[in-house]
């Protein structure tokens, strides 16, 4: 028993040693004190919680969500009355249905989530630099990568808390108003949807941290972030639409050509993180979705029109999730490389 404990300790120190290039693993530290990484995370989390910025954001998003619930509930009530709605996954429709007056919860998250990520990250590093605290902080025994990772972690934690709180709030309100409890599968689907939303907002957060490292002015970095956000949420779809029209083959072309064109367009669309997120949301919240690409009539023949089980839905959107995670990691990699090379001078 004791041996295994010692073995585990040695194993752990070996791993930290490997990570830190040896030698410093045994840096003297009083037992029970948190590592500098968590100290920064705590401080950042506290700073965000107290900031006006976060209060305003959460206000906007909460209002939007409550509005969307209202729209969803009215849509569901009229739909159920008219027997138009498939009652099998009624609860999930809380997140995807709308009576047309307001966008759905999922749409709101797609649109406003990035704003939250950008708002929490755009001045992460350059504000520290401009306030002259960066030099002081980095002259403490802290690794540089721990610093940006801690910034990212703190904001991501906050985003996760906020999104899950909102999601569960919507579920609870929905439960009260429609009086229709979720099945375990529906609950898991919502939880997964919220997880995916955290990943998606995390991507934007990371991108804005990258901008905050690259640009010395907080305003420049915020504007670049917002520009990209608008580009991907609004213009990118339009541009792809234009290209699609311009390159569309004649309707009488062979099936293979038509399919190839459709797939190329899909590929172009999928370069946009918001498109990936939309696909993820659709698959997770609408179990009836069976495929995200073009399907021929021949492929559908004989298929039973039934919702996909959870495992199959996850399988269907797995590549999209991996794509988002990869984009996040690429951003982090670039931030890391940039930050490591940067000069640490106060206000210079």
């Amino acid at each position: 028993m004791k041996d295994t404990a010692i073995g585990a300790a040695r194993w752990r120190s070996w791993i930290t040693g490997l990570r830190r290039g040896g030698k410093e693993a045994s840096l003297s530290a009083a037992p029970g004190t948190p590592s500098p990484f968590w100290v920064i995370v705590q401080k950042e989390f506290g700073d965000h919680m107290r900031s006006w910025r976060f209060g305003i954001l959460i206000g906007i998003i909460a209002l939007a969500c409550i509005g969307s619930i209202y729209a969803a509930v009215t849509a569901l009530q009229s739909g159920v009355e008219a027997q138009a709605t498939d009652t099998e996954y009624l609860f999930l429709q809380m997140f995807t249905a709308s009576d047309g007056s307001l966008p759905t919860f999922a749409t709101f998250v797609t649109f406003l989530g990035p704003l939250m990520g950008i708002a929490l990250g755009f001045d992460a590093v350059n504000a520290e630099r401009n306030k002259g605290t960066l030099g002081r902080l980095l002259s403490q025994p802290v690794y540089r990568d721990d610093f940006i990772l801690a910034k990212f972690t703190a904001s991501l934690l906050l985003i996760a808390v906020a999104l899950y709180a909102l999601g569960f709030l919507v579920m609870g309100l929905g439960l009260l108003t429609i009086g229709y409890p979720p099945t375990p599968e529906e609950f898991i689907r919502v939880a997964l949807f919220l997880f995916v939303a955290v990943v998606y907002v995390g991507f934007w957060l990371n991108l804005s941290i990258l901008f905050s490292i690259r640009f010395r002015q907080a305003a420049t970095s915020a504007l670049s972030g917002i520009a990209l956000w608008l580009f991907f949420s609004i213009f990118y779809g339009m541009i792809v639409g234009l290209i699609e029209k311009a390159t569309a083959p004649a309707e009488t072309s062979a099936l293979s050509i038509l399919i190839r064109h459709a797939e190329q367009m899909l590929l172009l669309n999928r370069l946009s993180p918001s498109f990936l997120f939309t696909e993820l949301t659709t698959t997770l919240l609408t179990p009836g979705v069976r495929s995200l690409g073009p399907l021929t009539t021949a492929q559908v023949v004989g298929a039973i029109a039934s919702p996909l089980p959870l495992g199959q839905s996850i399988l269907l959107c797995w590549p999209q999730l991996v794509g988002l995670l990869a984009a996040t990691m690429i951003c982090f990699g670039i931030s890391y490389a940039l930050f490591m090379r940067q000069e640490i001078r106060s206000r210079a």
Binding site: A30, G32, T33, D47, R136, S139, P141, V142, Y143
Partner: protein, 351 residues
């Protein structure tokens, strides 16, 4: 002038050791072949004009910038290889130190302490004691945003000390504070160094301040250390060939007096110029100082500089009086840090 590497005197092992340190930014050499040894418990002043490479050198000592060449040893460690150990033992206050403005002074100190993994009870005690020591005990729970410049600097000192370092590096600590504040700050630094045996490295372009508290200074120009040592030894380095310059203000100067003076034993050279024609480059301040008591007959006053290999002041005064001249003022020229600074920096920029 060639920088002579200071060799550690007996018993004092160098705690900071730089050898042939180089840093290149693009085409420009920010630091060029710097050799520096700083002994334990010393207050060393890194003196140089803006852009001389002082901050770059400091950043390399902390492992915040990688040197292009040469080696750095701080507490016997290479900061690029063991950044955490070095940063744990070195307290660094950047120029224009910044704090989290919407946090209190105590919060800021506690944050630093926790980053250094000091248990919070101990950190709390330390913070209270340090705030007391730098005279900020009353401002403990005030937000740093409301602090004046001098208060920030003092908080910066507390912030540096809370990790209980062996070495304290202060980058331009006196920048932008009023004279009274500067005096207080310097007294504090000196006290800390003497009481706690701290090694202090401070960079500045304010020579007078450096002169007040430093055991040794290094003159740093264009990435090169052109001279180092204590202030008297720097003055000696400046006095070429060990000559002494005696400055005299003489009324009724004539060629005969010049001959008499030149014939005095030990005098190598006699330079005379009329007080009204003194050109500013040769030290107008000194000239004005010497000529000051004789404003009414300034036109008649001649400033004479005797370059000699020993102090000939008494012989010279006797000779002038006997020769019928009026000796109005006399001064043996002392090289202050001002002259040293001026001279070296001029030499540095011209080179």
């Amino acid at each position: 002038m060639e920088a002579t590497p200071w060799t550690a005197s007996a018993g004092a092992e160098p705690i900071i050791e730089l050898k042939g340190l180089k840093k290149r930014y693009g085409e420009q050499m920010a630091v060029n072949g710097l050799d520096l040894h700083i002994a334990k418990g010393e207050i060393f002043g890194l003196l140089g004009p803006n852009g001389a490479g002082k901050t770059t050198t400091i950043l390399m000592m902390l492992g915040l910038t990688e040197p292009t060449g040469g080696s750095v040893r701080v507490c016997g460690l290479d900061p690029a290889r063991n950044p955490l150990t070095v940063k744990r033992r070195v307290g660094y206050m950047p120029d224009d130190v910044g704090f989290y403005e919407d946090r209190t002074a105590l919060d800021n100190l506690m944050f630093t302490a926790r980053l250094n993994r000091i248990p919070s009870a101990q950190a709390r005690q330390l913070a209270d004691r340090l705030l007391e020591r730098v005279g900020l005990a009353e401002a403990r729970d005030k937000k740093v945003g409301a602090f004046s410049r001098g208060m920030r600097q003092r908080l910066g000192i507390a912030d540096v000390l809370i990790k209980q370092p062996d070495i304290v590096i202060l980058d331009e600590p006196t920048l932008g504070i009023d004279p009274e504040g500067v005096r207080e700050l310097l007294r504090l630094i000196r006290e800390l160094s003497r009481q706690d045996g701290l090694t202090v490295l401070l960079s500045s372009h304010h020579l007078h301040q450096v002169q007040q508290i430093c055991d040794r200074v290094g003159l740093f120009v264009r990435g090169e250390l052109i001279a180092q040592g204590d202030v008297p030894s720097l003055a000696r380095q400046l006095d070429q060939d060990g000559t002494v310059t005696v400055e005299l203000a003489v009324g009724g100067w004539n060629d005969r007096l010049a001959e008499t003076l030149a014939s005095l034993p030990g005098v190598k050279e006699v330079r005379a110029e009329n007080a009204s024609e003194i050109d500013s480059e040769t030290g107008a301040a000194d000239a004005a100082q010497i000529a000051a008591p004789t404003t009414e007959d300034a036109v008649d006053t001649t400033l004479v500089a005797l370059v000699c290999d020993r102090d000939v002041a008494s012989e010279a005064s006797a000779a002038i009086v006997q020769g019928g001249g009026r000796l109005l003022a006399m001064k043996r020229k002392q090289y202050g840090l001002d002259d040293i600074y001026h001279r070296y920096f001029e030499g540095g920029t011209r080179a």
